[in-house]
């Protein structure tokens, strides 16, 4: 593994008596794609929520890019360079595709009152630049998408919504991208297409690390460098795809063993 970007040590999140995460330690290297697998309720999404500050950690430390970010609020975590997508699409459907992207780009926008309300020429200039940036990013995913920049997100099909969601996370130029089951609700072919897009995006951004939650083992095999398997909030196995699927505990917990 190259330089460690994210170092999680002994993360524990309890809901009442239940430990949703139990002393979970995970490391992600710079530029690495880590697959996160495990049965439903094994703590994968909880891990994302704890990492992004939505849940409070009961124990453990999170060090990101050399900085202790344990207990940071969601806004602060995002400012450090961690962006995510959600398992159930959380695009703002009534807003345009552009507005959705700008939500991910929030940190770069000028938010002063004078700038927004009085300096309309300068605002228009910044707006033009951002339209340009958004179009460029979208065209890397699908060449038809920039033309739909000012359509409501609700007008897009499932796969395009997912693309926009990934773009919304990428436009803020994060160091770490957390993808929570991007294939959910899509057909096999669509999943395949989206994964091609994600790989292509990473090829353009070599420093980007990705943690991917995924149920389809084909996807995991194809795009991850390494996998971690969770069960009942604990990491039961970690390693390259082949090692992991060969592991006896993983087969019992997840893949099904007679």
């Amino acid at each position: 593994m190259t330089a460690v970007l994210l170092d999680c040590r002994q993360l524990t999140v309890r809901f009442g008596g239940l430990a949703a995460l139990n002393k979970l330690s995970i490391q992600v290297g710079s530029g690495e794609i880590l697959g996160l697998i495990g049965p439903n309720g094994s703590g994968k999404t909880t891990f994302f929520n704890a990492l992004t500050g939505l849940y409070r950690l009961d124990e453990g430390r999170v060090v990101f890019a050399g900085r202790d970010i344990t207990g940071f609020r969601p806004q602060a975590v995002h400012a450090c360079g961690i962006a995510r997508t959600f398992q159930r699409s959380r695009l703002c459907l009534t807003l345009s595709v552009f507005d959705n992207l700008m939500i991910g780009n929030h940190r770069r926008l000028s938010l002063g009152f004078a700038f927004n309300l009085l300096r309309r020429k300068r605002f228009a200039a910044q707006l033009g630049q951002e339209v340009e940036r958004a179009s460029t990013l979208l065209s890397g995913f699908h060449r038809d998408l920039p033309a739909r920049l000012f359509e409501p997100a609700a007008a897009l099909g499932m796969i395009d919504r997912r693309r926009v969601e990934v773009c919304r996370a990428l436009i803020g130029e994060p160091k770490l991208l957390l993808l929570d089951e991007p294939s959910a609700g899509m057909t096999h072919d669509e999943t395949h297409e989206l994964m091609d897009d994600i790989l292509a995006a990473r090829a353009r951004l070599p420093g980007l690390s990705i943690v991917l939650i995924e149920h389809e083992m084909g996807v995991i095999e194809r795009i991850t460098d390494r996998c971690a398997v969770l069960n009942f909030g604990e990491k039961i196995c970690e390693g390259a795809y082949e090692e992991v699927v060969a592991d006896r505990r993983v087969q019992e917990a997840y893949l099904g063993v007679e």
Partner: protein
């Protein structure tokens, strides 16, 4: 320009504005009860006959030619106002509608953009009104300054309410504002400083030696109603408020408020400071209500707790819902409907709360986004997809 903005002819929008202006004129002029009732019927039937698709065409004509529509609206309003230059009652109605529209624009920023409910709108009007009453009683304070202070104070007192509001959501937040509305009225009724149930007198507005409460004498010997002063001031205030709210909507600020309203969790994950944006919207909205309240109090000459009840707050909310939540343009016709109809049609005066509740229920059932629904934000017309 793309195909969409070319196909929307400016004449359609202008014609619609002309009809609205003529209707407003006829309605304000009508004196016999049967005339008012007939006009109300004609208006309702006309809207129903027009249907949704024509309405949408008019709206896209307005959206495609914003600046010429603005000027048309300004000129037409000026003509209507001028025609009523000697009519106290009509001018009072016009000014009231415009001032309440300013307050509703404030509610629209809170509820329509940031999603912060406020059932205490009238209380913030009242804070503005009482500020005007207290400060104008002391000579030497310029009245322009009084109006400013009224806005600031309403914003400031609103920030006391924001703390419990930030810790609650949905129904609970609504309950907090309802409680505040009731507290406000009760406090005024028992407070001697604020005149108790009888309220306080407010002196008329005077700016740079120009007394707003004297009739205007024209050089050619005629006399215009003093309410014309207030109408012009309210018109300017409304213009500034509409511009402010529009610019807010079409900027990163409006986008941030939308993001916070639609999905707080996602917004926080993308770096939005949710609390900050709610505070911004709430304070700005209350300040607008405070300014409107101060001018309204100076115009009517008195403030009393009975003017700032929960029922009045509900009237404000129903204006926003009828007009179209999030659409500043819908507020003006909705305010006109809600405020003028009961004054003109005395038969419904007693039943107006009943009637408006019915209106709101019907709108929520059949046109949940209001009479003029909010359009998706497109920053410049040339980006509107065909």
């Amino acid at each position: 320009m793309n195909a969409a903005s070319q196909s929307a002819s400016p004449w359609l929008g202008m014609l619609a504005l002309l009809f609205v202006a003529m209707f407003a004129f006829a309605f304000l002029r009508a004196e016999q009860q049967w005339q008012v009732a007939a006009l109300a019927a004609v208006g309702t039937i006309g809207l129903l006959l027009m249907g949704r698709s024509n309405m949408r065409r008019i709206e896209s004509s307005w959206a495609a030619h914003q600046s010429s529509m603005q000027w048309t609206a300004i000129v037409l309003s000026a003509i209507v106002i001028f025609l009523f230059r000697e009519d106290h009652f009509a001018l009072l109605m016009i000014a009231t509608v415009m001032l309440f529209s300013v307050a509703c624009l404030g509610l629209n920023v809170q509820f329509g953009y940031a999603g912060v409910v406020n059932f205490a709108g009238a209380a913030f009007l009242g804070i503005g009104g009482y500020t005007a009453a207290m400060l104008t009683a002391r000579p030497g304070i310029p009245h322009g300054f009084v109006i400013l202070v009224a806005g600031l104070l309403a914003g400031l007192i609103g920030s006391l309410l924001i703390l419990p509001l930030l810790r609650t959501r949905g129904h609970y937040a609504a309950l907090i504002t309802i409680a505040f509305a009731i507290l406000f009225r009760t406090f005024l009724e028992v407070s001697d400083t604020f005149g108790g149930p009888q309220g306080l007198k407010v002196s008329g507005l005077r700016i740079f030696g120009w007394s707003f409460n004297d009739n205007i004498e024209t050089p050619w010997g005629g006399e215009y109603s003093f309410y014309l002063n207030y109408v012009i001031l309210s018109f300017l205030l409304l213009g500034v408020a509409v511009m402010l709210v529009r610019r807010l909507e079409y900027s990163w600020l409006g986008l941030s408020l939308d993001a916070v309203r639609i999905d707080e969790t996602a917004a926080s994950v993308f770096g939005f400071d949710v609390a900050r944006w709610k505070i911004v919207a709430f304070t700005l909205g209350n300040a607008l209500a405070g300014v409107a309240g101060a001018v309204y109090a100076m115009m009517t000459g008195f403030v009393a707790p009975a003017n700032f009840t929960l029922a009045e707050s509900l009237i404000l909310v129903s204006i926003v819902i009828l007009g179209g939540v999030g659409n500043p343009i819908g507020i003006l016709p909705a305010a006109a409907l809600v405020l003028i109809l009961p004054e003109k049609l005395q038969a419904i005066q007693e039943y107006r709360y009943l009637l408006f509740s019915l209106f709101v229920i019907l709108v929520l059932l059949f046109r949940p986004e209001g009479l003029l629904p909010r359009r998706m934000r497109v920053y410049a017309p040339r980006w509107r997809s065909p």
